[in-house]
Amino acid sequence: MIIDHPLLGPRDAQEFTYLGDASLINRPDWQSENALSEFHDYLYLRDNPAGEHRELWYHEQGDRSWLVVTRNTTTHEILNVELAHDVAKAAAAERSAQ
């Protein structure tokens, strides 16, 4: 697979390591009242789609940035690549706008 890095352009997937579902960015607040059940869900509950999946990749043998890669799990086609930094910032902006 080739991952089209938003800063560096197309790079071989062997330079990257895989973490898992992109929802791992949304870590629950450890001080919330339901922290225990929220962390249970955060840690154990995942969708396992056959098809489009948003996931976290780390460019370990490159610029060491975290990416959110949208990948089709049945064809391995890579549909979108964003910097996790940008995704997290956008999500935070959305939360504060609510």
Binding site: L7, L8, D12, Q14, E15, E60, Q61, G62, D63, R64, S65, L83, H85
Partner: protein, 187 residues
């Protein structure tokens, strides 16, 4: 303790040089290194300070810059590696920290890395065998982090026929072996 003497990454008293066909592989041990990572939201302050005080304009993604005796190459978002001759800038990291203050985190890197300058015609043939970096399309003054001989390395194109390979110092022997093997395979 007073009888300690410096050795090169390959363990010699003097830097090693190998000539294989058109390729020359030179161990470079006379450069000090320091990494600079701008703190959150401070990248422009870091750029401004280095530009004002040592005349170095920090390079953008994938590039390198020179402002003698300093050079810099991009290593990641808002992060750079700065080099200068060890002879005159042994305390490079402290110098940079004084210049940058709280705007950046500066880490001494000199003894963490080994560097080999590979020069000669056929350079791209050699690196094609060693890594998947697009060396043929890399212009002079660009740098890329990739893998070679299973090691995470920086390839820094200094000139059309000269590339510096910067790799973990403790793996200098393995990298050197890989460079020699690739050079012999194209000689």
């Amino acid at each position: 303790m007073h009888k300690l003497k410096p050795i090169t990454p390959l363990g010699g008293n003097t830097p090693r040089q190998d000539v294989i066909g058109t390729i020359t592989i030179t161990e470079v041990a006379d450069q000090a290194l320091a990494s600079v990572a701008a703190r959150r939201g401070q990248a422009n302050v870091v750029r401004q300070k280095l530009s004002d005080q040592i005349g170095l304009s920090l390079p953008d993604v994938g590039n390198a810059a020179d402002a003698a005796p300093f050079s810099a190459f991009w290593t990641g978002p808002d992060q750079w590696m700065i080099t200068a001759p060890h002879e005159s800038h042994e305390l490079l990291a402290s110098e940079l920290k004084k210049t940058l203050g709280d705007s950046a985190s500066v880490v001494e890197q000199t003894d963490g890395w080994c560097r080999f300058d590979v020069a000669g015609a056929g350079l791209c043939d050699l690196f094609e065998r060693l890594s998947n970096a697009p060396v043929r399309t890399m212009a002079s003054g660009t740098a890329i982090r990739t893998t070679a001989e299973h090691l995470g390395v920086f390839l820094w194109r200094l000139a059309e026929e000269r590339i510096a390979v910067i790799a973990p110092r403790s793996s200098a022997g393995s990298l050197h072996h890989g460079l020699l093997a690739a050079a012999k395979s194209i000689a």
